[in-house]
């Protein structure tokens, strides 16, 4: 027994003992930490953006007070320094803070001088009354003539009022009675997105189909990098191109009145979305197993039939994801929208009218708004909307792709 055992000793409890590999363990933890970090960052961004829009959600008189307070302090942000409370937490527009701040600011002459639009003060009675109440709904499409309508003098301001204006079409954030009608912005954003996707979607997907199914290897090697290079274009360059070249060109072709409009913006954003959609669709198409192609060709299908009836359907989940990413890009695109869409919040179905998108609104107004103002909060609220939208879009895509398309195409 003893003489045999040394030979058999290859497997002993000792040699097979579980080893603790510290470096691997640490590396693994580190990698997983980084993976979760991105989730955490997304989460934090949302929290922050949403937090800034929170004042909109505090209804009632407290909110009103706060709004005023913010409005006052807003015009002179430096004034925080004088108020100890403001100094301590300038970003918290909590109700207590607001009450603290309010007494000093409103009712005083300076306030009236600086910003006659502060509601709650005397001038507000003359100017503001038409904002809340039924009046705005009547003149949805006429953003300019709001001042004249004056009807209900309602001193119940704050978020209630702001919320009521959300569902109107007037975007007049800086005025004696600001109106934050998101309808015009929403329609503008959707219009541009739809136009851009109608152009970019087919173009990019068909280009991807061409490169993966029809083009020779050499042609593919040329086309792919060039289209992908378009993704590296700063959107401000594309916006500039749209502003200077596309707008004039399309005006000559279509003869519309407003030179910068949803169509021009949509075309420019399509330029930004094409490389994204193209790249991902191309990857999806290239990932379709060659055996499908071979099987189809061996059945006597032409290249064209194979591409459209076998390869394209098999890549549908990937292409769908690509399109959604494209939508996300267009929806959140700021610079191009700012430069090429005309930035007028109109409610109209005409693609040749100027529009103002959510993202462009934030981009254009964030630097001019006052910290803690209702306007400021509304802009962050729009930011939250954008975030929620793209989140929902991705969630829907995920579930749809997993649940339906994959089932259909892979029989899982």
């Amino acid at each position: 027994m003893n003489s045999e055992s040394p030979i058999k000793k290859t497997f002993t409890q000792e040699s097979l003992k579980k080893q603790f590999r510290l470096s691997e363990f640490l590396a693994e933890k580190f990698i997983s930490m980084i993976a979760f970090l991105s989730i955490a960052i997304i989460f934090l961004i949302f929290i922050f953006v949403f937090k800034e829009s929170l004042p909109l959600f505090s209804f009632g008189s407290d909110a009103k007070a706060k709004t005023e307070a913010q409005a006052t302090s807003a015009n002179k942000p430096e004034s925080y320094g004088t108020e100890p409370e403001g100094d301590l937490k300038p970003e918290s527009y909590g109700t207590e803070n607001a009450e603290d701040l309010k007494p000093e600011s409103y009712g005083t002459e300076t306030t009236k001088d600086l910003k006659p639009e502060t509601y709650g003060s005397e001038p507000a009675d003359d100017l503001k009354p038409e904002v809340y109440g039924d009046a705005p709904k009547e003149d949805l499409s006429v953003p300019a003539e709001d001042e004249s309508v004056g009807a209900v003098s309602e001193n119940q301001e704050g978020s209630d009022k702001t919320w009521n204006t959300f569902f109107t079409s007037e975007w007049v954030p800086v005025s004696e009675n600001p109106r934050f009608g998101l309808l015009g912005l929403l329609i503008g954003t959707l219009k541009v997105t739809i136009i851009a996707m109608l152009i970019a979607g087919p173009l990019a997907v068909l280009a991807a189909l061409f490169t993966s199914c029809f083009a020779s290897k050499r042609v593919k090697e040329i086309i792919k990098p060039i289209i992908e290079m378009l993704a590296a274009f700063p959107s401000v360059v594309i916006g500039f191109f749209a502003l200077m070249v596309l707008a004039s060109f399309f005006q000559d072709v279509f003869g519309y009145d407003s030179r910068l409009n949803a169509f021009v913006g949509g075309v420019a954003m399509a330029l930004a979305a094409i490389p994204i959609i193209y790249t991902i669709s191309e990857d999806a198409l290239a990932a379709v197993p060659k055996t499908y192609t071979e099987a189809s060709l061996a059945l006597g299908a032409s290249k064209w039939q194979t591409a459209f009836f076998v390869v394209l359907p098999a890549a549908t989940p990937g292409i769908f994801a690509a399109l959604l990413l494209g939508v996300g890009r267009v929806f959140g695109e700021t610079m191009i929208a700012l430069m090429a869409t005309g930035n007028a919040a109109l409610v109209s179905a005409n693609p040749f009218e100027s529009v103002r998108t959510f993202a462009a609104t934030i981009g254009a107004e964030m630097s001019e708004t006052v910290f803690g103002d209702t306007h400021y909060s509304v802009l962050f609220f729009i930011g939250s909307l954008l975030f929620i939208f793209s989140f929902a879009l991705n969630a829907v895509a995920e579930f749809y792709v997993k649940g339906k398309l994959l089932k259909k195409f892979q029989g899982k």
Partner: protein
């Protein structure tokens, strides 16, 4: 050999500069099973893919010589490769059903040929599946995805799919190499039945399979056709030393 279906004349194939097939000349009889055997990399699959011009898909391939199917050179400039493949079907080594339903898999071929009539399609699907001896297993689940089938069923589905376009010649590239013995025997049985109507050329690594299923056998080695003859005589008294060595398992 009467009724010669395919006449191959001095067919050479190059991958770039590398010669993969060296002046193959052979006759393939109609309505028989011809087995191509040989060690891996000997060119038998390459040769098989020449018959329906699947090698066209590889850009670096160039081919010289003639491949006459019923007297027509399929490598002629005026021949449309799509029409060739409609008449020369192929079953691949790895079963490759489309990621569609069973019904759609079979109906795909007739559909791309312009058939729209639902009842006619139903009929084709049923006959093809019956011919492939898989109808009884699948008739209740035609709308299920083909990818949910077992490997053997998938391969027979692929055969049924090939039959659905009513080809003349069926090429099989090691159709049973990835299957268990039961599925393999089903496929072999199927090959046996199908040769009544079709000319079948089958590539196989399995000597017994070649012996069992084929009427004629061609032995390839290093891109050359070493020997071709009736399966019986090849396996019992091969003329070439190399053939004998391979068949008896001394190399390869």
């Amino acid at each position: 050999m009467k009724d010669i279906k395919i006449k191959v004349n001095d067919l050479s194939l190059y991958y770039g500069d590398k010669k993969a097939l060296n002046e193959i000349t052979m006759d393939i009889p109609a309505n028989k099973v011809t087995a191509l055997i040989g060690p891996s990399g000997c060119g038998k699959s390459t040769f098989l893919r020449c018959i329906n011009r699947m090698n066209d898909l590889i850009p670096s391939v160039s081919i010289t010589g003639k491949m006459l199917v019923e007297g027509v050179d399929i490598y002629d400039k005026n021949v449309d490769v799509v029409n060739i493949r409609k008449k020369i079907g192929m079953v691949f080594q790895k079963s490759n059903p489309f990621p569609k339903s069973i019904y759609e898999n079979i109906a795909y071929g007739p559909r791309i040929n312009g058939m729209k009539d639902k009842t006619e399609l139903d009929e084709i699907v049923e006959t093809s599946l019956r011919q492939a001896a898989i109808w009884d297993e699948l008739k209740d689940r035609l709308d299920d995805s083909a990818l949910g089938l077992s490997g053997g069923q998938q391969q027979r589905l692929c055969i049924a799919r090939t039959l659905a376009v009513s080809p003349d010649i069926i090429l099989m590239d090691e159709p049973a190499s990835a299957l268990d013995p039961i599925s393999t025997s089903k496929i072999e049985e199927l090959v046996h039945q199908l040769k009544e109507q079709y000319t079948i050329i089958i590539v196989t690594h399995n000597m017994q399979q070649a012996a069992r299923t084929s009427d004629h056998t061609a032995f390839f080695y290093m891109g050359n056709l070493i020997e071709m003859g009736k399966t019986n005589s090849i396996f019992t008294k091969p003329v070439q030393k190399q053939t004998e060595d391979y068949i008896t398992g001394r190399f390869g």
